[in-house]
Symmetry: D2
Subunit: 104 residues, 4 copies
Amino acid sequence: MVTLEQLCQRAREIAALANWPEHTVEQRTLYLVAEVGELAEAILHLVRQRQTGQEHTAALEAVGMEMHDVLWNICELANALNIDLDEAVEKKREMILRKVTKEH
Amino acid sequence: MVTLEQLCQRAREIAALANWPEHTVEQRTLYLVAEVGELAEAILHLVRQRQTGQEHTAALEAVGMEMHDVLWNICELANALNIDLDEAVEKKREMILRKVTKEH
Amino acid sequence: MVTLEQLCQRAREIAALANWPEHTVEQRTLYLVAEVGELAEAILHLVRQRQTGQEHTAALEAVGMEMHDVLWNICELANALNIDLDEAVEKKREMILRKVTKEH
Amino acid sequence: MVTLEQLCQRAREIAALANWPEHTVEQRTLYLVAEVGELAEAILHLVRQRQTGQEHTAALEAVGMEMHDVLWNICELANALNIDLDEAVEKKREMILRKVTKEH
């Protein structure tokens, strides 16, 4: 079971290992956008395979790989901004729970 | 420490509690895109606050909240497609590690 | 009939009139991303109105307004980079025409 | 000087010529998202070339090609929804002008 913190820690380790160049916060966000574009394309491919009744195991796996890349870029951005994703996720969850409970 | 699986499980529970309407895979991807747009806006606001030397605790927190929403939408999409995010993340991590180790 | 050049010229004029702060190329691209997110949301709203058989003139008009904002941000980015959109559009059109003609 | 209407008319002609499969409105929006991701990547490449003092004529041209693809997808989406882009652009322009004039 991967935790968000592990994912972000790994992003730090691999960035150090790979010796990637430094990026500004805006540049990191644009990398995220590029990955979201690739996820959109993988989704379109998967949907097409399904609609035409073709085997789509590989297309589904490709979607999972793109999802990783989006998560990874969120971690890289959180690392760069010193945002504790665990904390942020708990806080927003409570806000949503309050809202949903109030409405229902 | 939130695991990816917990995050996706919570998304399932809240969706059931909130009784949200069903969405196609394409529609779920568009919700993700809308959240990425909001994250981009929160990042622009944060950068502006920093550049003009203004207090930016609230702007930073807002970025964290938008990050949650992106993660959440990835979970919703993974749930809808029966993608095991943990598995996908491990698989892609190994691919990246092989690539990075080979290059360095 | 608005030409691309007029659209980009207007973007320049209004930017001067509004006295908006300067932005880097990355920041301008993030504004574009924010607008694409709003367009995605407007599309989701329109589709929902249509599916539930509700009147959707306002929802359709809102989509048009968001399309304007995307075009506008493309112009702002082209202006900042001194890209002649007319020229770019003609060039890419020829590439597509060659490709499509070859395939069919 | 290309007008928005010509751009959208050409999109219709090439779509007919290429005999592309039909797409839903959501799918067309996802194609737009994929192109915005490619534009983000082209921008990141251009910025990197500039920062490292490398020749960037090709990188700048690649950005123009991606801008075309975004415009094209906006046209395809407008065509599918019977949105008159010229009309939408004029309407939003007036709204912006009123707002900017009021503020200044």
